[in-house]
């Protein structure tokens, strides 16, 4: 019934890269600190712990990315996310105040962008990460035009 779409598979690569970089940093810092503070074997143990943590995070990252999905309905946008805590946000087009498209340097190098929807409620937390740039632009334009067409006052 609903046409659920997912972020780009490149988002998974991006997140895995982030995990890898973080793991490497954590491993180096923890290894050097423990190695100099205690002995070389403590440093090795710290590196091992960091690597195991990175591996677990790497497994979860794939599933977390897969949990993101969104669907455009006639009057509302549905955004689904979360692995441990599952969330589903429903944002009526008429309530959207503005739509942000954000792309950090790392995201840009992967050709991805994040879309964020804002309503008058501070609690609205609908965002869609990892959209290919052209899909993000399409969605932004579509949301903006739908929002204008159905706009309702406060």
């Amino acid at each position: 019934m609903l046409d659920w779409r997912h972020p780009s598979p490149r988002l998974r690569a991006l997140r895995r890269l982030e995990v890898a970089v973080l793991t490497a940093l954590a491993g180096i810092i923890a290894g050097l600190t423990a190695g100099f503070a205690v002995r070389w074997w403590a440093g090795a143990a710290a590196v091992a712990v960091a690597l195991v943590g990175g591996a677990v995070a790497d497994l979860l990252v794939g599933r977390r990315v897969a949990a993101w999905s969104y669907a455009e309905r006639e009057d509302d946008l549905f955004v689904q996310r979360g692995l441990l805590v599952r969330r589903l946000s429903v944002v009526p087009y008429g309530r959207m105040q503005f739509v942000d498209v954000v792309a950090g340097p790392l995201e840009r190098s992967f050709g991805l962008a994040t879309i964020r929807l804002h309503t008058a409620a501070a609690a609205t937390d609908a965002r869609i990460p990892g959209l290919p740039a052209e899909e993000a632009a399409r969605l932004r334009d579509r949301l903006a035009s739908l929002g204008e067409a159905q706009s309702a006052g406060l």
């Binding site: 805590v85 589903l88 946000s89 009526p92 008058a120 409620a121 501070a122």
Partner: protein
Amino acid sequence: MSTGPVAPQWRRLHPLSPLVRAGRGVTGLLVVFVISFSSRSSDPWNVVGHVVALVALVFLAVVSWLVTRWRIEDGTLRIETGLVRRSSLRYPLTQVQAIDTVRPGFARFLGLSELRLRMGGSTSGSARLAYLTSAHAEQVRDELLALASNGSNAQRPADEPAPLQQRRLVSVSTPQLVASIALSGIGIVAIGLTVAIAVTATLAPNATTAGLSGSVVPLLAIGAGIWRRFNSEYRLSVTEGADGLRLQSGLVATSSEVIPRGRVQAVRMVEPLLWRPLGWARLEVDVAGRQDRRSENRSEGRQLRAVLPVGSRDRALALLDRIIPGAPSPTAPPPKRARFKSPVRFRHLAFARTEDCVVGCGGRVARITSWVPLAKVQSLRWSQGPVQRRLRLGNVYIDTAGRNVGAALRERDETESQHELEQLTQLARAARRRVQPL
């Protein structure tokens, strides 16, 4: 100072306003002055420094007054201000959510008041005109309200004629207000501290001075908090007029606020633990628009405006019915197994909905019931944590414009919660269309 063509109706704020605006800073400086004077009395440079700071403060306030002007044109309020960075602010009056008239103690003494327009939207702040003479402020307020209601006429239900004469809905008796503050969280803390100090004073008089000097700041903060609450709720009266709800209150600093029809985003009834044996309740309304945290009148820094600071449950419900006609009372409890997930909150959880309104009840210690007109729903959220998944439960949140209010349907059955999410989405859409036909 004049930049650009001078339009005929540019107006200035009252000439005494820099004095009032600087007044607060002067009070603060005087406190610092006295403290530093008593601790290091033999330093004349200290005194000179304070005097210089004081003069600079007044000077800055005068400059800020000199460069500020305002006028009303084509349904917008324009304020121009700033000496170095000149800024011209436009506030479209159709987006006004509420208008406050605030009179801090000193301004009231001089017969001045401040107008504050709360605008919709999460990004725009509020427009301030500080200060005008009180009579002028009333006149400008009525003018602004008339312009504002042109835009929101569609929000007035057609079948209900606008009440012509003012109708008083609420007035609060002072003894009950005092009792209610004494029984609130801050009141209990204050009473506890007073008792503790009294006990130490009788048992160990020597230790008291040491203990007191350390706790001066928190004591002052608590006292200020109590005073602010008392002042903002003292003799609160709510009247219903042609232009909406009119709230008036205050002992020293008075404020009056007009909430135009159809601008209430949510209504909340709070029943603290200690009030429940007495059957008391507090009713608050939420209006869209950010409130200035750094505003000069601190009583407006609160999120919600109490329309009934304290009163019996029946009165609260009667008032609610005036604000949201036909508001349902929460009747449907969650399934029994929700007790494992929310053991404390369980006894409060309930919800109900009609075609126009949804209500959710919750709260761990205090019972908090929130009503949201479905036409005001901004977005809906559903969530399910790991424990809830095990118990097949789910939450539905109803977000309204504003910071943190909104109804929540907690710990509902999984399929029921998903069904409610869908139903509420559709009902909210229908309600939105009814209020504002496309």
